[in-house]
Each structure stands twice: as structure tokens, then as C-alpha cells.
Amino acid sequence: MDMLKGIRAIVRKDLTAELRTKELLSSMAIFAVLTIIVFVFAFDPTKAIVRQVFPGMVWVCFIFAGILGLNRSFVSEKQNDCITGLMLCPVDRSVIYFSKMTVNLIYMGIVEIVSLPLFTVLFNYQIPVKAISPLVLIIFLGTLGFAAVGTFLAALSSNARSSEILLPVILFPVMVPVILGAVQATAAILAGSPAVEWFSWLKILTAFDAIFLVVPLVLFEYILEV
């Protein structure tokens, strides 16, 4: 209960500060929209090949926009040494991790809500109605996995001098199962394949998310010490 109250307080603080400045959300949204526009110019929306690369384009947009948010999640706490203020609070250190992960999940969710409809409109791509629920589930699990690993590694890299370069370098090798699972499952769902074809990817995503939601409980305290 205390843990949930702590998470809620930090999430509220971060969202209030972001709503006041809109620095991060606007840069993530603008990046996502520009990526979509570049893809529209690069690939002819009328060609059949677009149907095959569409899931990859969607996830490239989500992930690169998400990295902008991850980079800032701990670097912003360096100002006035706010991270020490958080570390002094009488809560388990994993509360800091879970609140930052929740904030990243919210930011990415907002970017996805904006960019996915834009993708479908500009590429004239109609998502079948029966695919919407499994697609939302896969996007959620993929985003959760990305935010879980990304937040953990963002904390690790935040003390480095070139953290904005270091984070993507250490993040992508660890993220391979999530990216692969999310793209393959999205492609199978959009192609109208039976559930059995994307169910194994769903299991991989779920297992990966579970691991990276448990690991920080043990290791996050040491990450903050680095």
C-alpha cells in the first residue's frame, strides 16, 4: 500500500512538471510525426510491400520516440540533485524505478495514441476491427517491456557523461526479444493470422516483461549507487 502511494506521488509530481513545461511530450510527439512523414515519402503507400513493412515502421516510430523519454527520465532528476531527495524518501528504492517506468509508459502511450491513427490514415491502412483488441494487447506488452528495460538502463546510464548515446547502445541488444516479439506479433495480427501464430510471441513478451519487472526489485538500489 505504501509502495503504491509512493509510486502515485512520484508519478503525479513528474506529470505535473511535464504538463507545465511540455518539453518531453512535445519533442516525442514531433519526432513521431516527422518519422511517419519520412516513411510516407520513402515508401509509396499504394504499393503492396507497405503491408509487409508496416508493423516494422510502427515499432521503429514507437521505440525511437520512446528513447527520447527514457533519456530524460533520470537526467531530469539531476537538476538540483533531486535524485538524492528521492533516495532519502522513506520508501523502497524500487518505488523510484516503478514510478519512472509508469511515467515512461504513460508518455509512450500518449505518443502511440497520436501516431498509430496517423500511420493508418497516411498509409491508407485499414486495421480489421477484430484485430484491434489483440493489437492493443501486443502494443501494451511491447511498450511495457520497452519501458521496463529502458527505465532500468536509463538509471544505469544517467551518471555517464554521454548518457544520451550510451543508453541506445546498451538498450538495443537487451531489447531484441521485445522488438522481435512485438513486430512479429503485430504483423501476424494485422495479416489476420489465427491466434496460434502470434500466441508464442505473446508468451515471449509476457515472460520478458515479467522478468524485467522483477529484476529491478533486487538490483535497482545498486544501480542508483553506481
Binding site: 506521488a9 509530481k13 505535473t16 512538471a17 540533485d81 531527495g85 532519502l88 520508501v91
Partner: protein, 234 residues
Amino acid sequence: MIKATGLTKTIGHKSILQNIDLNIPAGQFVTVFGPNGAGKSTLLKILALISKPTKGQVIIDGMNSNEKPEAIRQKIGVISHQTFLNDNLTARENLNFYGQMYKVPDLKNRVFDVLSEVGLEFTLNDPVRTFSRGMQQRLSIARAILHDPELLFLDEPYTGLDPHAIQILNGVLGQLNVKKRTVFLITHNFEEGFAMSDRVLFVVRGKIVYDGKKAAVNKDELKSLYLQKVEGAA
């Protein structure tokens, strides 16, 4: 109140603290002096549970820092030359946030009370980024005393303060003294540090080289003793 045994901190091959033993009874005002890079702030960070020692243990109010860190942190307040405040939030929002984290009862009134104590009650809804350095430091004092800590750590709190802010800080420290709170102050300012302390420590090269009651020496003797100890260790 604080019992530290065998505190050692090494970073890479560099030894920051060497086997420090320290016992501070409840209600004592301890002032720590030492040259830059002596390990004073590292000692404070370990005692305030911000950082872990490489070796040794810290027991605060009978609780081991490895076993009950959250319960210990509830009793601790820290004032540093950094404010730990979010510039984009108002004074009220910053204090509300910390109040929620420390589970402060009757938070609304408590926020107003501590802001009044540091003379910032009229800036309740102003963003911290619009505050001067002195005002930010005063708000930082309000943040640190918001949950009425039994143990207050201060790391060079006089840095960048105007005379008014120094007066407010000394007022707060005086009140803590009256309430018999334990205070651990790190400063280079002999005037301020000596005036309120019960006990004085010198930390040089990661070791406590002097530990004495304030009553045993006067300020000038303490200054010359400090210089002897620092030069002796060089």
C-alpha cells in the same frame, strides 16, 4: 542515536573513508570540519543512508541501516547546498510531494507552517524557478524539517546564503537544539559551526583526527588546532 562502526569507503583504488567509528548520542549537535576532499560529505551520505559503506555498519536509533532503511529514513532530514527541489513545480507542490512521501499528517497546515517558519508563506504558489538562490535554500530548509525529523544532516548549508537566510537557518537550528534533536553539521564556517555545536570533529584524509567537546576549547584554540591537524596530516 547514531552508532557507526568500522566505516570504510573505497571507490576504485581510492580510499575515501578509513575505518571510522562514531557514536553520537541523541540530542547532540555535532559539527564536522575538514579540508576539501577529506571525506566529510561521504561520511554524511553514509550516515544519512544515501550511500552504502564498503565495510562497516550504521545503527540509527537502534535500527541497523541494512535491515530497516525505510524506518530510519523517516527519522532523517538533509539540508545540502543542493536543494532537491523541482524547479518546474511551485513551493506548495514541492512540499506536498515530499509530505506525501514522508506521510506527514495534516499536510496542508504543516506546509503552511514550515513555509511561515522560513518566511516564504507568500510564495506558496510561485514556481521554484522564479526564486532567488537564498529563497530556494530557505525552501530547502522547509523541505528538510517538513516531517519533523529527529536527526538532521546539514552539508555546507551556509553556501550561497544571504545574511537573512543565514539568520533563518540559525533560527531553525536553534529550535532543533531546544527540541533536543540530533544535528550533524558539515561546514567550513568556523563562526557559525562553533557557535551552536556541543561537539566538534575534524575529518582529514578519511579519518577522524580530532573529536572533542566544545566546552574543552575556545574558538581561536580550535582554529589553530584545526590548522595543526590539517598540516600534520599533509
